[in-house]
């Protein structure tokens, strides 16, 4: 089955993502637009680097890239082969060197205005901007020459001419391109110069703008025009009075505003959510996946002293490119909030819940399930990982039960619905697609049926994962009243605990590893970054322990092993392992996503030939 990302629609914010074809009509001719197809090779990302500057991996420009035709280029003596139409920048990356850059961003058009990526091309008098110059066969390029070095040093010096010396109080420190380049090529020779002064500390809603720190790379202008469609920023005035601003200083009204803070190479645009909360070099990053909707944007979770301070998009050209939405990003606060977390396993004794250790809880669950002799059903949750769901299926099988579904509310129906033509989908769960595949529960929700059976006494035991009484509704209330035994699994307390006989605390995604399957059938892996909260355990581990206690197979040693079993048991997962899923994900068998949404019927060429009347 093939799935599309959805059709292009106007966003709630007035924005609309533009296709490369459409962009080509509004950008100056010849502007390269990095193409959105899968690059042939991705650099191995380094999880051990706490904060990574955008690596700037260039994809081929859309214009006339002929992947069938490889050209040979020499970069500083290293010979590489790149497709025809690729840029020198891209070839340099192939050769293992990322040219310095401010304006170039792999998911935005290429204006070549910062002049940082200059290189010498044999037999050409002038230095060339590598980001915008296409390679020719046999081209000999050098970055490592005195002439190039002086020019790059010069650009850094020019930028510093009017840059405030704010580093001690600037929140970009540690992930600032300018700081990095200054440390590499700066002259360390402060000159007594007069600086042009511009606006500082302008509150733009989600973002604080410091126009003095801006290097005028126009990345934000392009993001607003080309990705968010909200065109928030402009560069007003000329010469060294050029200043980045929003029209009339209006606050930014976009669900993608915080991406501006990622792409801004310096401290001009900083996130009001994150600024001054932590120096970035104290943060530890782990690769993760955003759990806030069925798109499953790839992210880094970043923590210090076991507190998650921020999420940041992680590049994946099959899912989110370099972007994520603000609600998803801000959900880190929910993870850091432990006020309603369940601390330890709980058992109902004398009408109240009292703590019990995991061993006792597991034994209790096994003995109650044995007593129920197969008269048990489960309501899973689309926030559970593929491994969790698989272990739930195994447990039910071991217990002799069978009825399971996860569709306690209607959110699953929106699994493919793109709300804004960009990233946000209507289904707020990360693993609806995985649940639909692993539980294969039929076209319509059977939750009502399950609850009816429990209420009617036909089924005596009920396993509830995460859901609360309110969501389960009247049918749920009747079922819970009638059930002989209720097992609750989840990370947080809710109204269901009032009725549960046994409560098992589970980990949230940043505390454990596993995989989610996004709406389009892309299986994506996430890694732990903080230890489990108190006694909580990954749901798969809690469930597998009970299965083992029931006399079923031994519990898998890790989520990876559980996933292997899943791959052997559910055909669309066949052949996948945590390793093959890697950090860029892998398609379910037979699923593949078309890279770009179809271009809408209403092209918006910004430029039209005048009509004479």
């Amino acid at each position: 089955m093939r799935r599309n990302v959805g059709t292009e629609k106007d966003t709630a914010y007035g924005g609309r993502r533009r296709s490369p074809a459409e962009l080509a009509t509004i950008l100056p001719p010849g502007t390269l637009i990095p193409d959105l197809r899968e690059p042939e090779e991705l650099p191995a990302e380094r999880a051990d680097v706490p904060v990574v500057l955008e690596p700037g991996l260039a994809k081929s420009p859309t214009q006339e890239v002929d992947r069938g035709q490889l050209l040979t280029v020499t970069i500083d003596g290293v010979e590489v082969r790149v497709p025809k139409g690729a840029t020198i920048f891209q070839a340099a990356e192939r050769a293992g060197y990322t040219p310095p850059h401010f304006c170039f961003h792999r998911d935005l058009s290429i204006p070549a205005n910062c002049r940082m990526c200059l290189c010498e091309v044999k037999d050409q008098g002038k230095l060339q901007t590598s980001c915008s110059t296409a390679v020719a066969d046999g081209m000999i390029v050098a970055f490592d020459t005195p002439r190039v070095k002086e020019a790059v040093q010069g650009v850094v010096e020019f930028v510093f001419k009017n840059h405030p010396l704010d580093c001690p109080v600037c929140d970009q420190v540690g992930e600032c391109y300018l700081q990095k380049y200054y440390m590499e090529v700066g002259r360390y020779d402060p000159l007594p110069i007069e600086r042009v002064h511009k606006d500082k500390v302008k509150d733009l809603g989600p973002i604080t703008l410091d126009a003095e720190r801006c290097v005028l790379c126009s990345r934000c202008v392009r993001f607003g025009e080309e990705i968010a469609g909200t065109s928030d920023f402009m560069i007003a005035n000329r010469s060294d009075h050029s200043e980045i601003m929003t029209f009339d200083d209006r606050p930014i009204d976009s669900a993608y505003a915080l991406n501006y803070t990622d792409i801004c190479p310096v401290g001009a645009l900083t996130s009001n959510d994150f600024r001054f909360r932590k120096r970035v070099y104290y943060l530890k990053s782990a690769k993760s996946v955003c759990p806030e909707c069925s798109t499953g944007c790839n992210i880094y979770s970043e923590q210090s002293e076991d507190t998650v301070y921020r999420y940041r998009p992680r590049y994946n050209d099959q899912v989110n490119d370099s972007w994520m939405c603000d609600p998803g990003r801000l959900s880190h606060a929910r993870v850091a909030d432990t006020s309603d977390r369940i601390v330890e396993p709980l058992i109902r004794r004398n009408g109240g819940l009292t703590p019990i250790d995991w061993e006792g809880a597991t034994a209790e669950a096994a003995s109650r399930l044995t007593e129920l002799a197969g008269s048990v059903a489960a309501i899973a949750h689309p926030r559970m990982s593929n491994e969790d769901l698989w272990e739930l299926v195994r447990l039910l099988k071991a217990a002799g039960g069978s009825a399971v579904d996860f569709r306690a509310d209607d959110s699953w129906r929106g699994v493919d619905d793109l709300t804004d033509g960009i990233l946000i989908r209507r289904d707020p769960n990360p693993n609806t697609r995985g649940a639909l595949q692993i539980l294969s529960p039929g076209p319509d929700s059977r939750v009502g049926e399950i609850l009816g059976a429990v209420a009617g006494g036909g089924v005596r035991g009920l396993v509830v994962c995460g859901w609360d009484v309110e969501t389960l509704g009247d049918a749920g209330a009747r079922a819970l009243a009638a059930a002989e035994w209720v097992l609750f699994l989840g990370p947080r307390r809710n109204s269901l605990l009032e009725r549960a006989d046994l409560v098992l605390p589970t980990c949230v995604h940043v505390e454990r590893d596993g995989t989610f399957t996004n709406h389009a059938g892309r299986v994506q892996r996430f890694w732990p970054n903080v230890p489990p909260y108190e006694a909580s355990r990954p749901a798969w581990a809690a469930l597998a322990a009970i299965t083992a206690a029931l006399g079923g197979d031994a519990a898998p040693a890790s989520a990876g092993v559980s996933f292997r079993h899943l791959a052997a048991g559910v055909p669309v997962f066949a052949g996948l392992t945590h390793e093959t899923v890697g950090d860029q994900g892998a398609w379910l068998a037979g699923w593949e996503r078309d890279r770009m949404p179809a271009v809408g019927a209403d092209p918006m060429p910004g430029v039209r030939a005048p009509i004479i009347v």
Partner: protein
């Protein structure tokens, strides 16, 4: 005065009425376009090519060759833009043409339009040109009234419309791709090239941009033939060129000279020499963007593309600025730096920051607070700007800066606080010198 009157004759002969259609036609105006309409477009392009006419906007690119780059039978329309943004300091020749001979410009545009199969042409005016604009508008009205513009011009089957547009006073809108952006309704910021306008220009369509003077020359060429035009001037610099002359000279103004005219003869005979009591300090021959020439360099120099290049300068826009020995080179450079620092479009880092930086440093020197290090810094900044940006504005700042310091080191040293080691300065200049235009 040895100059043939190709461009200025009509305006000088009938002052006060030469801008009228009637006056223009009385001396043979609008004959060339009729002739052109009977020729094939290839033949027109060939004729202009043969004449050796080169662009008068600054770069001196062969006009016929530029037209021949327009793809034939392209699906998108072709456009013609007349560049009347004339904002280069010291340049006021296009203005003279637009005020005194607007119909010649219009006829030249018509011929170019026919040659490149264009049906919509634009004249982009410098925003401050209100008087030339009024005369131009009147001329366009006259032409429409006569059926020289609109449907089927001159009874042919060629439809041709003209749009008059005026800028908001940005020098950078004179750069061809900046102008295109501006005409498209955007901020005038030059584009990366390639693609060149002939391939993708205005509204992504093939576009020819020519300077006003270039276009005003075309009717004469078509009427009298390429050979007649090519008889004037030198082998590589054909024809005549307008020079707008300013400074402490007896007779400032706009002059038409045959290419290859002797510079000093021009100064002494035609311009009447320097004003009493003022000596010659130097001449900027081609508008503020080109390097200044010292009196020594002026002697024997020829006013044409090769002649000036040989002296390390350029024809540029023909803004002939004479500098008297009563001003300091530091003052001159500050004046220029102030202009470029105000006019950089601000896209490219080196130009955006470098122009203002040079201005600051020159200002500091002029105030007596500069040092040798500041001079070295200006040279270094110039070097880091030249040839490293999207358009040539950065070079237009860098070249004069290096030239002024190189040629008038004493002026700078005199104003610096503290000693200036002249040998070290000369060595520093030598290191940066290669950025200046080289002799061909």
């Amino acid at each position: 005065m040895s100059a043939p009157q190709i461009l200025m004759q009509r305006g000088l002969d009938r002052p006060g009425e030469s801008h009228r259609l009637e006056a223009y036609e009385a001396v043979g105006g609008y004959r060339a376009i009729r002739k052109a309409l009977s020729m094939s477009s290839e033949a027109i392009v060939e004729e202009v090519k043969k004449s050796g006419l080169r662009g008068r906007g600054g770069a001196g690119f062969p006009t016929g060759t530029k037209w021949s780059f327009i793809p034939r039978g392209s699906e998108s329309p072709t456009y013609l833009i007349c560049n009347s943004d004339e904002s280069e300091p010291g340049t006021f020749k296009d203005r003279w043409l637009l005020e005194n001979d607007p119909h010649a410009v219009l006829e030249g545009m018509m011929i170019a339009a026919v040659a490149i199969d264009c049906h919509l042409m634009f004249n982009y005016f410098r925003g401050e040109f209100s008087y030339p604009l009024a005369r131009w508008r009147a001329a366009v009205d006259e032409a429409y009234a006569k059926g020289y513009l609109g449907k089927g011009i001159f009874g042919s089957d060629h439809d041709l419309e003209v749009v008059t547009h005026y800028g908001a006073g940005a020098y950078i809108a004179g750069e061809e791709t900046g102008m295109i952006e501006s005409l498209e309704g955007k901020k005038a910021q030059p584009r990366n090239k390639p693609p060149f306008p002939a391939v993708e220009g205005l509204f992504r369509s093939p576009t020819v941009i020519n300077n006003t003077e270039t276009l005003a020359t075309v009717p004469w060429i078509v009427e009298h033939g390429a050979d007649a035009y090519a008889q004037y001037g030198t082998e590589k610099s054909r024809g005549t060129k307008l020079w707008s002359c300013s400074g402490p000279i007896a007779r400032p103004g706009v002059y038409e000279l045959e290419m290859g005219y002797d510079l000093m003869q021009f100064l002494e005979d035609d311009l009447g020499g320097m004003l009493d009591g003022v000596g010659l300090k130097g001449i900027i021959p081609g508008g503020s963007s080109v390097p200044v020439l010292t009196p020594d360099e002026c002697r024997g120099a020829k006013l044409d593309y090769e002649g000036l290049r040989e002296r390390g300068s350029l024809v540029g826009s023909g803004g002939f600025i004479v500098i008297g020995d009563n001003v300091s080179a530091v003052d001159c450079l500050l004046n220029l730096a102030h202009f470029y620092a105000h006019e950089s479009c601000g896209q490219c880092t080196p130009c955006r920051e470098g122009c203002g930086w040079i201005e600051q440093l020159v200002d500091k020197i002029l105030l007596g607070r500069g040092t040798e290090a500041d001079l070295a810094m200006i040279l270094r900044i110039s070097d880091l700007m030249a040839g490293k940006t999207i358009c040539a504005l950065a070079d237009a700042m860098a070249w004069p800066a290096v030239a002024f310091i190189k040629k008038y080191p004493d002026d700078f040293a005199a104003l610096c606080a503290g000693p200036v080691d002249m040998d070290a300065l000369a060595a520093e200049v030598g290191k940066r010198d290669h950025i200046l235009p080289r002799a061909s």
